[in-house]
């Protein structure tokens, strides 16, 4: 390559650095660059000028809502990630929850009975009852009444005072079993009286139940904060 041809390459280096080299010339220039120290040096010299161009624009303050939207999406992502990694229902719930959750038993039921009051609940003890049936129930902070009844290895989740769902949404239940979160296959929705129920076919090893609003068809992982959280203590 003679000096004139090389000068033409050097002129292309500026366009290359700016990302303005014509697409059909880029491959050819990159091949030349691999073996040409002079052009590499030229690019190294010019690159800082290009890198600082964005710093030279008039500064605009981004709207606060932009950060809020972004961080909402980021936090939702992070929660999904933790849930998917099987880091445990409890940790996931801690990430979602505002405030703590404790327990209160409901006297007179057949077995260990808890009132679950999200955010303000407290533990009092466990009730008696026949050996094969356990019931956990309580009022959530949002006013929903939730109960989980376990008979043998099957369970029934029942909700009352549930507000109508937005169009295109369903309720999806989730269980924690041995540190991992699993979807309950049967999706459900409240009736006109605000009541909703679903079956949990396998209660073996389940330590908590929760419910989220999900898009019609359900989700493989929760995509919103739970409207119901019922930790199960035996």
């Amino acid at each position: 390559m003679n000096a004139n041809e090389h000068d033409a390459r050097l002129e292309e280096a500026a366009a290359f650095a700016l990302g303005a080299l014509d697409a059909e010339r880029v491959d050819d220039f990159e091949r030349h660059l691999e073996g040409c120290e002079r052009c590499q040096e030229e690019l190294r010299w010019l690159a800082p000028a290009v890198r600082t161009l964005p710093e030279a624009v008039a500064q605009q303050a981004p709207p606060p809502e932009l950060k809020k939207r972004l961080m909402d999406e980021v936090r939702t992502d992070a929660r999904r990630e933790r849930a998917a990694e099987g880091s445990g229902f409890g940790e996931w719930l801690r990430g979602l929850r505002v405030g703590g959750m404790t327990w209160k038993p409901l006297a007179g039921l057949a077995a260990a009975v808890l009132i679950v009051a999200a955010g303000i609940g407290y533990a009092v003890g466990s009730g008696g009852g026949s050996g094969n049936t356990h019931t956990w129930e309580g009022e959530q902070a949002n006013g929903i009444q939730a109960s989980v009844v376990r008979e043998g290895e099957r369970g029934q989740l029942h909700l009352a005072d549930v507000e109508p769902l937005p169009q295109g949404k369903v309720l999806e239940a989730w269980v924690e079993r041995e540190g991992t979160v699993e979807a309950v296959p049967a999706l459900f929705a409240p009736d006109q009286a605000g009541e909703a129920s679903t079956e949990i076919e396998d209660m073996k090893g389940v330590s908590a139940v929760m419910v989220t609003k999900e898009p019609a068809g359900g989700s493989r992982q929760p995509t919103s904060e739970p409207i119901v959280e019922v930790p199960l203590e035996s």
């Binding site: 002129e11 366009a15 800082p48 600082t52």
Partner: protein
């Protein structure tokens, strides 16, 4: 990794934040956004000229960084210039789509890193922290014809041939003005560091 607390994250350098972001730590990401969101938004707005479009661009670009943070290679360049490259690519592509021009830029953030000679990093980092005002001055003081082709290329996403057609100039003239303009900016940066 245990989630990093906000106050701790604020004390970390950008390159130290990235592993936390790769581990999906929202606190680390919030600090990262607070540091670079302003200049990134300004760049997107400069390119797109519309606040809503700039917001969409920043949302997409930062989410892509959040989801690909593990791919950042600290030996290849600074976090800030990588971030701004991602934002510029998104903005230029949006601009070209809106204008009916074929997308020219890739969303492959690794390609952004790979395209950069590693040796430039140290000098670049020294420059980028001190020279926003100097670059503004340098751009202002460039001859108008040189400034125009650089701005059309960098902020408009036009190729040299497109610029030549747009300005009704020979391609060689556009190439020459680009090179002269960049050389002058680079020269002023070098003087500023001396």
């Amino acid at each position: 990794m245990t989630p990093v607390r906000r106050e701790k994250a604020e004390r970390l350098a950008d390159e130290e934040l990235m592993p936390w972001i790769a581990e999906k730590d929202p606190e680390a990401f919030e600090v990262f956004y607070d540091r670079h969101g302003g200049v990134a938004y300004s760049l997107a707005y400069r390119i797109l000229g519309d606040r809503t479009a700039a917001e969409d661009c920043i949302q997409e670009a930062f989410i892509s960084i959040w989801r690909s943070g593990a791919r950042f290679d600290p030996t290849r360049g600074s976090v800030r210039s990588w971030t701004l490259s991602v934002v510029r690519n998104r903005a230029i592509d949006a601009l070209r789509s809106k204008a009916g021009r074929a997308p020219k830029l890739t969303f492959d953030d690794d390609a952004i890193l790979e395209a950069r000679p590693a040796e430039e990093r140290t000098e670049e980092q020294a420059i980028e922290h001190e020279t926003a005002g100097e670059v503004r001055d340098a751009l202002t003081h460039l001859p108008a014809d040189q400034s125009k082709v650089i701005q059309l290329a960098y902020f408009g996403g036009f190729s040299q041939s497109e610029i030549a057609r747009m300005l009704n100039l020979p391609l060689g003239t556009v190439k020459g003005r680009m090179r002269l303009g960049l050389e002058k900016i680079r020269g002023e940066l070098a003087e500023g560091m001396a």
